[in-house]
Amino acid sequence: MKTLGYFPGCSLEGGGIELDLSVRAIAKAAGVELREIEDWNCCGASAAHSLNHSLAVALPYRVLSLAESQGLSEVLAPCAACFSRLKGTQVRLTRSPELSQRMQEVVQRPYQGGVRIININEFMASLLEAGLAQKLTRRLGLKVVAYYGCLLSRGQDIVTGDDAEDPKGMEAAIRAAGCEALPWNSANECCGGGFSMSKTGAVLDLSQAVLDEARAAGADAVVTGCPMCHSNLDMRQLELVKRRRVPGALPILYLSELLGLAAGLEPVALGLDRHFIESRGLVRGGV
């Protein structure tokens, strides 16, 4: 059984718990052990890098160092923001021996640089390649749009192997689940990100634009890998529905949920009952 380091981050223990449930479930179905990094700390996302550059590197540095000392050479960070912080720090450390030296003094821990960080899209692609594709027996037959937002498409050195302006990293997995990935215009547009609380109005406008494009493309659901995108499109959609700014509710699924459904797992086990927008009806025959 393959073992992979696992960094849940705060989101997967809170608002994005469905992502945690579904990633763990699909990993189990694929026969991969996820070993949570012991004593992990906050990655610093959204707050640290706008306040203190040293802190913004020191927090992920400690996580990387812990993973290395616990013998985890590859770590999955399902949350897009955690992935971006961890991989971004890894890239910066590789480029600057001085920074590595300074961080070693600040954090008082060594790090040799031997940990590879992967995101949810890369994880799903690797599971499919390793045989998960054969276990996806429930053909879902949905028309969906793949929504990458910013952190799963941008950062040329961070999201490697995909085109920032025309991302495709989810499409193979969507097709493997028996779904169609529709071409659309908002794959890497902004959902409003971390302004959900401070500038809710702007987030509503941006999320509405994404939802409008998805509907115009003819999608049954939006598939995403980012808990921030999910909360803006799912939770904030309630407000849009209430104010009749959108014609109806559009389910927002995590990529791991989509694959879990295709693997025949129970929607509740994947956390589908926790969404603000009802999405259990997507599976033929309901739940």
Binding site: Q156, D163, A164, E165, D166, P167, P183, N185, A216
Partner: protein, 657 residues
């Protein structure tokens, strides 16, 4: 007995500021064999040269050392002066006191000592110089021009007008190149066809020009003055000698819907076709990949309808050898593929087109007869967005360089669009407007002021297609400092200019250098802009760098002048710095033959009077040898030496240090 003269140049302050030139000339005067040691402010000037000439005659000098700049700069100048005074020019050597000394040092005492050392080294060398005679090679007074666009046509016509023969090779079925595809030309709005097609006819009918269309260079042998080039005459399946160009064949051909590259894919052609009605020669070819007769043996309609029996399905590629003395490469350019920009639709949006497609839409002979209609639904666009620098000045996705012609043709496009669609809106996104050229800035101002093109300074971040077919163009107006969104019906991308595919392979055949982008390298960016590092091979047009028509034509004429200069004498003189084989000691191990990068070292049989082979040795072809010395360094028996740089001379130079 050696009588050496040493002449030290101050080069104004270039050398004199750092090196004590008087001390150097005084030290040189004391070196063994030196009879004259003087210094002067500008040795390359007429009084300076006169000083050298006078000393050669009066002091009966047997050798001269000039301590001045790099030999690349003035060796030729000083050697000519020595020759005028009756000294063999190869008995004059230069000590580089500028690039190798004064420019790279700051301490005067140390620099002066180094200068003295450099002079001593060259004195040691010049004492062992032998008088050399320039090598003469005969010249075949025929030129090969590769590429039948405006650059190749112009070069061919100019060479032909000079009375020399030209072979003009073009890979496509017709000459004319990209210029034949243009609607009008900046900055005068001349109709491109009207100024080009008469030249195409002239090139085809000129008695000195042999036209080889649908042909490519297959291989190259030989050297300047004496190239043998093998041309691949691709199978046309139509005998041009029988064909009258009546057009019965391509009007009847049932394979109709092949996108015509000439029309940037907007128009369609048949499997047997001429690319455009004004083609030269106006004789069709069969596109074997699409012809059902050639693919499956079914059809044969064109052969049935041809009144002259010109169709030959058995036609094959033929190889033809031509002997030429000089070559002009004029292979031109193509547009970069904007599919690499995902944010502009990744090549999937039909109404996002490139500059050539817009040219064809605006051209009276284009697929729409000169009406601006967008490809998706044939409607007349009411708002057109033009986007400059698409792939240019972008080293992340595209190219680092500026493609030079786009500012001007975009202004022309905006102008032509406004002339054709009076109520339409033309919006141009630009980074900078680079309109350097005669009448160019005025032209752009005219597009803005008289023709109402809206210029927005900024980049476009995304182009998306809305369900109603509108293209939503989002970008930044950096002068107003705010984002802009424009709902357009058509977007024209000014794609970067890049070399033609296969241009690198062609450069390798001719031994011509090219840069990281594949553009051919000139011998010197300022002083030898049409020559290449390969002697006898010249450049014209956009194969060297992005160029507009006036610049291309100028360079083509310059290349032609260089060719005519080369052909002006029946023989060529070249530097005698070449390798020589000592036949008595050569063991014929063939190490030099396999090491020679120019194919100049070859086998040679020593025969007796009866023609019986006595012994085989290595030999060096004087015409091909470039004097690199590789053979001399690999020779195990020291049987190869380089004239002007013999082992003895090099050792003497080292010992003098």
């Amino acid at each position: 007995m050696a009588r050496i003269g040493v002449f030290i140049c101050h080069c104004g302050e270039n050398i004199g500021r750092t090196v004590d030139c008087a001390a150097v000339s005084a030290a040189a005067a004391k070196m063994p064999g030196v009879v004259v040691g003087v210094d002067y402010k500008y040795m390359c000037s007429d009084p300076g040269q006169q000083m050298i000439r006078k000393a050669i005659i009066e002091q009966k000098l047997t050798g001269v050392v000039v301590g001045a700049c790099s030999p690349r700069m003035h060796e030729r100048t000083f050697r000519a002066a020595a020759a005028e005074a009756g000294l063999n020019p190869y008995l004059l050597e230069m000590a580089n006191l500028r690039e190798h000394c004064s420019w790279v040092h700051s301490n005067q005492a140390e620099a002066t000592q180094k200068a003295i050392d450099l002079v001593r080294v060259m004195v040691a060398k010049v004492r062992r110089d032998r008088a050399l005679r320039p090598i003469r090679v005969p010249v075949e007074p025929t030129a090969l021009v590769v590429g039948g666009g405006i650059a190749g046509i112009q070069a061919a016509l100019d060479i032909a007008a000079g009375g020399k023969k030209v072979v003009l090779v073009e890979s496509g079925p017709s000459i004319g190149g990209h210029m034949a595809r243009l609607s009008e030309t900046f900055p005068t709005l001349d109709c491109s066809q009207c100024i080009l097609t008469p030249r195409m006819v002239e090139a085809a009918s000129h008695p000195n020009i042999t036209l080889m269309t649908y042909s490519e260079v297959a291989s190259v042998e030989g050297f300047v003055g004496n190239f043998t080039v093998t041309i691949r005459r691709k199978a046309r399946y139509v005998d041009p000698a029988k064909c009258t160009g009546c057009g019965d064949c391509f009007n009847k051909c049932p394979i109709k819907k092949i996108p015509n590259k000439f029309d940037a894919g907007l128009g369609q052609r048949r499997a047997i076709y001429v690319p455009f009605p004004q083609a030269v020669p106006n004789k069709p070819v069969i596109d074997a990949a699409h012809c059902t007769m050639l693919q499956k043996g079914k059809c044969g309609l064109c052969a049935k309808v041809c009144p002259r029996g010109a169709i030959d399905y058995q036609d094959q590629d033929r190889l033809e050898k031509v002997k030429v003395g000089a070559v002009v490469l004029a292979t031109g350019f193509q547009l970069w593929d904007h599919a690499a920009y995902g944010e502009y639709g990744g090549g999937r949006l039909r109404d996002v087109i490139d500059g050539f497609a817009f040219e064809r839409l605006a051209s009276a002979s284009g697929p729409t007869g000169g009406l601006i209609k967008r490809p998706s639904d044939g409607k007349e666009p009411q708002t057109v967005v033009f986007l400059q620098c698409c792939g240019s000045r972008d080293d992340k996705v595209g190219k680092k360089y500026c493609s030079k012609i786009c500012c001007m043709y975009t202004a022309k496009h905006a102008m032509l669009y406004r002339h054709k669609v009076h109520e339409g809106r033309a919006v141009v996104f630009y980074m900078d407007v680079r309109a350097a050229g005669k009448g160019y800035e005025e032209f752009v101002r005219r597009a803005i002021e008289a023709d109402g093109a809206e210029y927005v300074r900024g980049r476009v971040s995304r182009i998306t297609r809305r369900r109603d077919g509108k293209l939503v163009v989002r970008g930044a107006d950096t002068l107003a400092g705010r984002p802009v969104t424009i709902e357009a019906d058509l977007v024209v991308l000014a794609d970067a200019v890049v070399p033609r595919p296969g241009s690198e392979k062609l450069a390798q055949l001719f031994g011509v250098g090219y840069d990281q982008d594949g553009f051919y390298s000139e011998a010197h960016p300022k002083l030898r802009p049409v020559e290449t590092a390969a002697a006898g091979v010249f450049l014209a047009g956009a194969c060297q760098a992005p160029k507009d028509i006036p610049e291309t034509v100028s360079q083509a004429s310059a290349a032609a002048a260089k060719v005519l200069g080369l052909f002006a004498k029946p023989e060529l003189e070249r530097e005698p710095v070449i390798a020589r084989v000592n036949r008595t000691t050569c063991a014929h191990c063939r190490a030099c033959i396999s090491a020679c990068p120019y194919g100049a070292a070859k086998d040679f049989d020593i025969v007796d009077r009866a023609g019986k082979i006595l012994r085989a040795v290595a030999d060096v072809n004087e015409g091909l040898c470039q004097g690199c010395g590789t053979c001399a360094s690999v020779c195990r028996s020291h049987s190869v030496d380089l004239d002007g740089f013999t082992d003895e001379q090099i050792h003497a130079e080292l010992n003098a240090l």
